[in-house]
Structure formats: C-alpha cells, structure tokens
C-alpha cells in the first residue's frame, strides 16, 4: 500500500483583488498529507482555510508556489485539465449538500460519471450509483428526490457522489454545518468508516467538536498554518451512536 504523500503544498500563496484592494488570503503554506490521513483544517473566518480548500480542490490556482496532487504537478494546469483532475481525483462534500433539485438520489450520484471519459450505458450508471448508495446506508432510497430526504440523508447522497469515481482525496467543507448534533455524529461516523477503509479525508471546520473526529488538526490564522498536531482525545462516532443519551466521549 502506497503511503506516500497524496497532497503536497509547497510555499503556496494566494492573492486576489477585490476592486481596489489586494487580499493576501494564503501567505506561504507548506503542507503534506499522506494517503489514509484524516485531517481537520481549522480556523476562524478570514484565516484562509476556505481559500486553501479551494486550491486543494483544484477549483482555484495558487498565485505562487506549487501543488502536487498524487505525484502530479497541478498548479499550472488550465481550466479543463483542472476539471478533469476534480472529476477523477477529488470528491467534494459541501455544507449545503449541493444536490440537483427534483433529481433522484441515483441521478445525483451518477453526475461525476457523466463527465468522465468512459461512456457508460444508463444501466451501468445505475449499477454503480446504487452500489455506492448502499455503502452509505441509503439502499432503497435511490429514487427519492432531495425534498424527500432528511438533511443527514442528503449529505449521505453527497458523500456517495463524492465517492463514485474512487478519488484520491475527499474534501469536505463544513459537512455538518447544516445538520443537527445527532445527525452530525452519524455523518462523522461515515467519514470515520471511510477513513478506516483507507480513504484520505480533508475536512474544513470551525467547530472544535467536529475536528475531534479527525486524526490530525491543522489550524490556520491570517493566511498561515499556526498549528499542526495529532488529535489527542479523538471522538469515536460509532461508540457515541450506541449510547444516544451520552454527550461526553469516553
């Protein structure tokens, strides 16, 4: 099993103009994330964590520095090439789910496959999507539309969509931001299960409680990484779910 670096940021800067002002959102971040890690990227609003996430997700290019994803240099790629990287190597999970409305869970999950290079028949798409939906516990709900699903179920659909192309890394941006506390624990449980299976996860959050489910915390402030350490008292979602009345971890 390759335990090399999936993500390698080398002195990455990001500056952008809003009108007359220049904003230095990221001011020299170097970071390595190995395969199989579960990283929580933390920071207050304006710390640069969202901008760094966009760069990690290949939605944006760094102004300076290098980004090596799965041993390939991606900082100099054009828009279409970045789109292909996003399709094959990255899976996104958003705070507000970003599912297509009035579309079945299955069709939502199939979406990345439609932009892939392999032409799949409708039957093949269905087969793959149903399999992944089952793996996140949504077997039987493949035909449901988002309006017929709870927040937690919608986020599971989003996770399934992120998984379908077997990406190198899952990027989750405040995945529990729109969920109640119990559902948040369920979703964190899914992430922990996926991580146990070897899937690399990078999660942005501003909540200490949620960060505690990861294995490593990276804290940003004012565009730089200020702290980077393993989580000391890790929460285990599976255990928590078995004891519904307990708020405190063991």
């Amino acid at each position: 099993m390759n335990n090399g670096a999936v993500v390698k940021l080398i002195d990455v800067h990001k500056t952008y103009r809003t009108g007359e002002m220049e904003v230095h959102a990221v001011r020299g971040v170097s970071l390595e994330i190995r395969r199989g890690e579960f990283v929580a990227l933390m920071g207050a609003s304006g710390s640069g964590k969202s901008t760094l996430m966009n760069i990690l997700g290949c939605l944006d290019r760094p102004t300076a520095g290098r980004y090596i994803l799965d041993q390939a240099e991606v900082s100099e790629l054009n828009r279409d090439q970045l789109a292909d990287i996003r399709n094959t190597k990255i899976g996104f999970v958003f705070q507000n789910f970003n599912l297509l409305p009035r579309t079945s869970a299955r069709e939502n999950v199939e979406l990345p496959l439609l932009y892939g290079t392999r032409g799949l028949t409708n039957a093949q798409l269905k087969e793959k999507a149903d399999a992944v939906l089952a793996s996140v516990g949504l077997a039987g709900r493949e035909d449901h539309h988002p309006s017929q699903l709870s927040g937690g179920q919608q986020q599971r659909v989003a996770i399934a969509r992120a998984l379908i192309n077997e990406p190198e890394v899952i990027l989750a941006d405040e995945p529990t931001g729109n969920l109640d506390s119990r559902t948040s624990v369920e979703i964190m449980g899914i992430f922990q299960q996926l991580n146990d299976r070897g899937i690399t996860i990078v999660m942005v959050t501003h909540e200490q409680d949620i960060a505690a489910y990861a294995r490593r915390n990276v804290v940003m402030r004012d565009g730089l990484v200020r702290d980077d350490r393993a989580v000391e008292r890790r929460l285990d979602a599976a255990t928590q779910l078995r004891e519904p009345n307990r708020e405190e971890p063991e």
Partner: protein
C-alpha cells in the same frame, strides 16, 4: 461519448421542469404554427384559383376588348368595345392551330317565366363554347351553329337559374322571357358550383351571341373572343399570330399600343394569383416575426434559468464539467425546446390550416418543403437565441457559482 451523455444531461434537466419547458417552447410552437398555417392557406387559395382557371378549358387563349394596365386589370369594361365579329371570323379562318372560337358578349338582366322572375347573367357565345369551356349539358342539347347563324331565340340555363324559375319542373322546351323576349330552353348545364371568387357559376343563361346582340345586349362589338388551340405547343405562336392579325385589321401602326389584350390561361392564372402571392408572403413574414419573438422568449427564459441554476452549474463544474460541457448542455436544452416546439408547431399549423380551409371550402396546401424549412428554422432559432445564455453559463467561475445564494 461525451456528447451522448451531454444530450442525456440536457434532457434530464428539461424533464425536471416540464411546465417551464412547455411554456418556453410555446412561443416557438405558436410562431411556427402561424407560419405553416398562413403559407398553407395562401398556397391552397392560389392552387384553387389556378385549378379554376385550368378548368376553363385546355389550351385557351382569351382576347379581350380594351387594353390592360401592367397588372392585368382591364380597362374599358362594357364601354365601346374594339372587337368585331369579323375579327373572330378572321381568327377562325387565318390562324393555324385554332380548333374552336367563341364570340362572347355578357350582360345581366331579368328573366321570367310565369310569375317567377330572376336577375341573372346572360352569356352570348358561339356553339363551340361548350367544347372550349368543357361544360357538358346535364339535360337537353346545346344550341347549334345554325342557331347562331339564324340568331334563333334559344338558350341553355344553369342549375341555379332553372331551380329559381322552374323549381322542380323540367325546364326543357319551356319559354323563358329574357328582357321580355321569349326564348326556348334547349338544355340545362351540369352544375359547376362556386368559383374561387365565390360566384355561383350555375346562375347563368347561355344563348347564341347573335341572338344576344340582336335582342338582349345590343351593341355591335364583342366583349371577348375565346379561342381554343389544338396543342399547347402551338399556344405561344398562335397568340402572336392573333396579335398580328388584329393589329393589322384594326390598322394599328407600329409603336402604338394594341386596343385589345391577348392572354393565355397561364398568364391569366399568374395575374390572378399575383395578389395572393403577395398576401401569402406578407402573412408569412408577419408570422415569421412571431417566430423571432418566440426565439427571444427562449433566450429570456434560458438567461433566467442560468441565473437560477448557478449553484447547480457550480456543482457540475466541481465534479468535473468542462466549460464546453456546460455550453453544450444549455445549447442542447435550447435547441431541444425550439425543435420540439417546431414539430408541435408544424402539427398545430397543419391542423389550423385544414380547419380554416374547411370553413372556406379551400384546400390547404402544406408542401413538404415548407415543413422542412419550418423545422430547420426552429432549430436555428434555438441555436441562435440559446447561444448567449449558454456561453454565460459556461463562463461562470465555479467558486463564485458555488457560493451563490
């Protein structure tokens, strides 16, 4: 294949919001239906007129008294005519290829029998008229060349005149007082129905032109001369020879206009349909404008759609859509709307044309060419008016799009 899935994606998107898709396509549907219907009715009317004129007989040349303006409208109706009986005789004798000639005078007057009377058209013709005009008798016999030579007081009448005067009785052999002159009815014409202009062709009395000129119409000149030529190939030559002959007989010097008009059936048909053509073109153009409006409607809705689906576009880009994929998707959505709208519009237009034609007793002529053109134009409208919104969608920045409220 990427394009295949894009079509898949586009159709899924259209299905998601069926009502909006239908309403957007409505502009195109109505526009295309209007064009198809207008052009279909116009063509039908034109064909009806042409058929009417063709039914006047085969290989016919008409010689009118008086000169015509450029658009074929005759001047000098009923006034001092310039055609003489001797002109018709000369044509009969001297123009090769002529098989039949009918001298024609026309009037409208009272006819009566018993205590019934009726105001009808009187046509004075030669015995050849029934062949020239391809108008057989339903009952009785036509008058003969001898009747013409003797100016006998005989006639044949149309079905409408017969019914008006005699009801269900057999009119043959009865006396009909025309301008108080007693005429014997020799026959009844087969019915021909309404002409394209709405005139009842069966409301008519036909008699020898000599009798008409002597006793009913008066005057010494003919209104026109109907000439039948043996063969369509001789038509143009015969026309020219008639012109030359009459110019010579009327002593018209070179460089001066004719004091008569010679037209063959095709020219008459063309003149009659010229107005219809202009009307059809005009109506078609107006309907075309509504097609443009339909296209603008598509562009409008696509723009709204792009704005509404900004987050969705951002999501698609996040999971790997290229700019070109988004452009193609929205373009296909627009083209699908306009093409399906075009097809529905064609069907609706055909139905509308046939319905309107039914009430006017015209056939509606929908040519395959007009259907193909209408479809291609509606597809083109989709491409043209869908392009700008599609390009806007493709140019969105994924990060901004994902943040959009």
């Amino acid at each position: 294949m990427r394009v295949g899935s894009t079509i898949n994606v586009a159709f899924r998107a259209l299905r998601r919001n069926k009502l909006r898709s239908v309403l957007t396509a409505l502009g195109i549907i109505i526009g295309v239906a209007a064009v198809i219907a207008m052009v279909g009715i116009g063509n039908g009317a034109k064909a009806q007129v042409e058929a009417q004129i063709a039914s006047l007989g085969q290989n016919i040349i008409l010689v009118f008294s008086g000169s015509t303006t450029a658009s074929g409208i005759r001047t000098g109706w009923g006034g001092a005519g310039t055609l003489k009986i001797e002109d018709a005789e000369a044509i009969r004798r001297e123009v090769p290829g002529v098989t039949a000639v009918s001298e024609e005078v026309v009037s409208t007057t009272q006819v009566a029998a018993g205590n019934q009377n009726w105001f009808t058209r009187i046509y004075g013709e030669s015995a050849d008229y029934f062949d020239i005009r391809q108008w057989p008798l339903a009952d009785g016999t036509p008058f003969t060349a001898q009747d013409v030579r003797s100016a006998n007081k005989v006639c044949v009448i149309g079905r409408t005149t017969a019914t008006q005067i005699y009801g269900n009785e057999n009119p043959i052999g009865q006396i009909l007082r025309i301008k108080n002159v007693p005429f014997t009815i020799d026959g009844v014409l087969t019915p021909k129905g309404l002409s394209a202009q709405g005139v009842d062709q069966d409301d008519i009395v036909i008699m020898p032109y000599t009798s008409a000129m002597k006793r009913v119409v008066g005057g010494t000149t003919l209104r026109n001369i109907n000439v039948q030529v043996a063969d369509s190939r001789q038509l143009t030559a015969a026309q020219q020879q008639i012109i030359d002959l009459l110019r010579q007989r009327h002593n018209i010097r070179p460089g001066r206009d004719d004091d008569f008009t010679v037209r063959n059936q095709q020219e008459i048909a063309d003149a009659a349909t010229a107005t219809t053509d202009v009307m059809t073109g005009l109506l078609g153009a107006i309907a075309g404008v509504s097609l443009v409006v339909g296209g603008i409607g598509i562009m409008n809705i696509m723009l709204v759609s792009v704005t509404e689906r900004t987050r969705e576009i951002g999501t698609r880009m996040a999971v790997g859509a290229h700019g070109r994929d988004i452009l193609t998707q929205f373009l296909i959505e627009a083209i699908s709307l306009s093409s399906v709208g075009g097809i529905l519009g064609i069907l609706l237009g055909i139905a509308a044309a046939k319905t309107i034609a039914l009430t006017r007793h015209w056939p509606a002529l929908i040519s395959p060419a007009s259907i193909v053109i209408a479809f291609l134009v509606s597809a083109a409208v989709g491409i043209f008016f869908g392009f700008y919104p599609a390009r806007k969608a493709a140019a969105l920045d994924p990060i901004e799009a994902l943040r959009y409220e």
